[in-house]
Symmetry: C2
Subunit: 344 residues, 2 copies
Amino acid sequence: MLFSKRENILRNEVAIAVVIGGLNTSLGYVDRKGRCLARATIPTNAHQPAELFFERLYAAAKTLLDTICEKCDIVGIGLSAPNANYYTGTIDYPPNLSWEYVDVFAEINRFYHLPIAITNNANAVALGEKLFGIAQGMKNFIVITLGAGIGSGIVANGEVIYGEDGNAGELGHTIVDLHGRECGCGRRGCLETYASDIGICRTVQELMCDTNEPSDLRFVSSEDLTLRIIYEAALRGDRLALKAFEYTGNILGLKLADSVAHLSPEAVIFYGGSAMAEDLLFRPTKQSLEEHLFGVFKNKVKLMASGLSEETGAIIGAGALIWNDLQKERYMDKSHQHRKILSE
Amino acid sequence: MLFSKRENILRNEVAIAVVIGGLNTSLGYVDRKGRCLARATIPTNAHQPAELFFERLYAAAKTLLDTICEKCDIVGIGLSAPNANYYTGTIDYPPNLSWEYVDVFAEINRFYHLPIAITNNANAVALGEKLFGIAQGMKNFIVITLGAGIGSGIVANGEVIYGEDGNAGELGHTIVDLHGRECGCGRRGCLETYASDIGICRTVQELMCDTNEPSDLRFVSSEDLTLRIIYEAALRGDRLALKAFEYTGNILGLKLADSVAHLSPEAVIFYGGSAMAEDLLFRPTKQSLEEHLFGVFKNKVKLMASGLSEETGAIIGAGALIWNDLQKERYMDKSHQHRKILSE
């Protein structure tokens, strides 16, 4: 009886999940099974001071809570944002946001006195995969988020690797070619300049210049070119588009071989953006990875598409930040109680 | 009274530490403070069956134990060897050893019924640095062992990263140049072919071919050339030798920038071989690392020389394998006892 009552209480526990993006911010309520019960979007408006943003966020979260039928207990707030730091609870010089420095813990504490956990999007998605997605039960894996940029979240020994300063997992800024493409980070040849959505567009430009391959893509301006257009051309058999995916997969596989040499993960999981390109990108990436792997790692590492939906994956990841912390606490608690019972 | 008695018992606890090398095997007794109380060397003779080796090892360990004045309790056996796997307790196709597969746990269990822990040399040294060396108190660091090859041991969140299969931390086999130097592993352009002792010798050969730089090293045959000879030439101001260290440091720094992007360590610690080259290699490595680091990591990562002596470091690392496991167990035990007392 007590048990079912407890179950009943658990069912209504939710985490507020917030995903801050350059233009828009998504928020939602994520329950302990990783279901997003309700979600909404507000403009980020990062040209305004951050405190205004958190006021609007609080108002939106309150309104959204009313749309959920069941009565909910909020157990914490998980937030992902560019350059959000798990250790310090701050956002420092976020790219694409004009805030210089935001003390997220302090801002949220104005409205809630609840556990707060923050990190960048890729780490949050990694936790989402671990708790609710395709990495359930895995202890060692890497999530690569493909989109306008490339993010990555590393899980080793069952824990997200934040590193000494909270910034571990910047695989998008490992170097492919010292003299290669200019990167937004000020250096040259970062993986991101080749394997992000924009990187693939740049590759199409390069192939149009280097080859005489006829292609529909030659009729699209550089500004108008998108991954979706390249993807659709490839599906029609456009050889230049196909080559662009081959080229990207080669580079991605080569750099992932280095990542595997560091971490020996069970799987590399792709989330978002060109993960939609499925076999077009997966096949050459897998082939290149196997070709370039150090012998002992060959034919071991799974390449997988995310187990989270592209619509709600980031939200669920942000929620997972809180659920992961609570799981650890409850585990400690349980083992404490268990020991207490044993010693009584 | 009870406490001092306990202390007294602890003082005599030792781990047997074994370091299997291609030619020779070192063994020693390492106490809980990381002191090597006695050590010896036996030929590995890997052309003979592994069981003969373990019989000789047991005999040598027994003889060596008698040389220690105090009475000792052996708490476990820590062993490092090429391709030794922490998870499986086996050595699989070790390079430079003709054994194909050795079940180390089974072999040692013939003589001792004690905890056994095995791993490769670089991981053992990483634990040695963490428990007894320069990484005491660090939670995130990388050890690079420089020698005939390049090994690495990664510690993140305070734990050695073994990865899914026990083989994580193969930084020597990350790729510098796809079309570069032939590596013993069958691929081309691995870091090891540039930054190991032999790699630096190869660089001298390359510089002798590519430049007209006069150098004493031109009078040394390729077979006779060693890192020590290059080091001594560099100390005399030999420009070709100096260039070889610059070149090596550039490449090492570049690849370490990738490692930092993965792991954001507090420090990268060099052990053995060319770590002796100190400033000759450190300065260009540090410079190249800082030059190639992603912005957020700049001026944060320490490059350090090992805190373990080159003579006994590997032995102490092998011993640390056992002491680290026991520390974890004792910690669990302590917290158990503490809780028991609290709940009584």
